[in-house]
Amino acid sequence: VSTSAGVISLTSLPVDATARLRYAEIDAEARDLLRGLGLTDGSLLRVCKQGEPCVVQVRATRIGITSRVARAIMVEQA
């Protein structure tokens, strides 16, 4: 999924790629949880696994994200 220049869906990234979070088209509760886990706006993430679930690492936190949410998380490859 590709939208504005360079901004793609998290699920489009290959494993081990790093990217910065741009925005997420998800409900407020899910967004708050991601922010609490450290995936704040602009934060750097690394893709550890794609599929179900998508696993990303933000600093030292590994976060499992169900693929339907991961699809709505838009990132810019670093």
Binding site: I26, L34, R35, L37, R46, K49, P53, G64, T66
Partner: protein
Amino acid sequence: VSSVAVEPIVPDAPAPARVERVALLGNPNTGKTTVFNHLCGLRAKTSNYPGTTTNVRRGTVSDKHHDQKIEFIDLPGLYDLQTASPESEVALKVLRDPATPPDVAVVIIDACNLTRNLVLCGELLALGIPVVVALNMMDMAASRGLAFDTAALAQRLRCPVVPIVARKGAGVDALLAAIDQAPRRRHAAPAELPAAGASLERLTAWADHVTDAVVTAGELGATDTFTERLDRWLTHPFAGMLAFVGVMCGLFWVLFVLASVPMDIIEALFGSLAAWVGAVVPAGPVQDLLTQGIIGGLSGTVVFLPQIALLFFLISLLEDTGYLARAAFVMERLLSRFGLPGQAFVPLLTAHACALPGIMSARLIPNRRDRLATILIAPFMSCSARVPVYVLLTTLLFADNPALAGLAFAGCYVLGAGAGLMTAGLFGRTALKGQARPLILELPPYRTPSFNNAVLAAKDQSLAFLRSAGTVIMAICIVMWWLSAYPQVAEPAAATSLRSEAQAAAPERAAELNAQADLLHAKAAQAGSFAGQLGRIAQPVFAPLGFDWQLTVGVVTSFLAREVFVSTMSVLESGTGDAEVDEGVVSRIRAMTRDDGALLFTPATSAAALIFFVLAMQCLPTLTVTRRETGGIKYALMQLGYMSLLAYVAAATTYQVLRLAGVS
């Protein structure tokens, strides 16, 4: 926006002379519970925070310097104070408690994940409450090559920082000393710290800055190759499912094998107690109340205690390893189709042993809507108390074909689970609108579980269960016993005549005649009791299901606990009250007749009764636990209502269809 305003606490609270109350806070998976258990151990008490279903644990520690006790309040794990979650709400209520505010907040920080943990710490510092930081898991950090300048960290945070290894108890004494010497008066927050109420983005930027300044060796976000490889297997659609099935089979095998011994002992102990009371207390209503009402009722509930304790012990071990988070993703693929969260697999599997621990273990599910959906359908899973009823009715249904009886027995489990999942789907469109929360979970590193934490978790849940069993459930047992035992009816003339005959007969024949008289009396007592009368009154309601008054009495008396059905039918048939389903009981019950002399258990009636017991909520203890776990009577009544209605409609349809098809 689902966030809450975080305002500073009372600006100039008077300084307490000594530290009397300490709040423990920290992110999930930071070892906070281990610290609390190390400090308070078995003295801790768990209770719901007033007006919520969120657990708060409290315990006391002796303060050697001031010869007094310090109360520790273990708050639920949370990532920050801004998110509108039950955990944040309870934490803020405790911190802002006007009557008994904590003097110090101890923040447990995972040293390997410093930045994210500092966000919560920063929020607390900004609130103005005195803070002590416990930098935990220092051994793990060292093994990853991480080193910290703790003095620099303390300087930046303007609060004491104590390195600890909670699992080994290392540094806990130093932590207590730091708490004792913690500043009594609020002091200025760190200069660079964003003000109270700042966004998580600003707080994270501050935490990043602090981390960069205090980590002297190693890289916090280095790849954990072991965890990464294991995750690929354990969350794989096929390999992950295989691992899940293996782990769950192991868990339930241990549960059933190990729990059966103490369960037998509990039953035997209650049996001995009842016999002793029977010998000491003169025969009469008081003896009946004690032996049958109180001891009998408690025995039937407390017998599940070993299963509950062992289950929570095993769940705590599994949770500590980090596996449960992975298993939740494996099961989400199946359960999300029915509006259930991935974490629902533990409660639903557990409910196959007993709905009580199943419902209690739904606390693993963080979202209230998802937790409610799981609790509401858990009693559909075929618990062990249904087994004797299934055995009896499937044997009656397929008397000459054990293979079909076995198939029907297995079918009951499928029907129960299927009805539960369908109901969850239906609730998602009606009473609990919306889908299950999409899974977003921290995948903590794999760790060796803590035996002590598991023992204390089992103790907490067992005590909660016993409190329920000793109050509400016991009261219900007494009421149900009274309904089944009173009013006492006079011995029927036929029985009296048999006893007169016995007086003149030879000893062997006399015993036989007296036994027959006992049977007649028990049958008359059952029929004449309030429950028996209720059965007769309610019979027209159950007529579309093919139930006569005897079967209706069976349904009414088994409302307390469904396994009572077998003993009730046995009493109605012969007065023996056998609870075990052996060949003799089955053949006697099969020969039961209606008042018009027709056989009672025709295939249509047996099938309808079987369907009824698969789907009906015939378990009052479950309703009391649902009430407790959901925080009110509403959902317990809803559970009773829809399960009873579904059972009634499905059983009536089965009976009528089979009757029309000529199978009656």
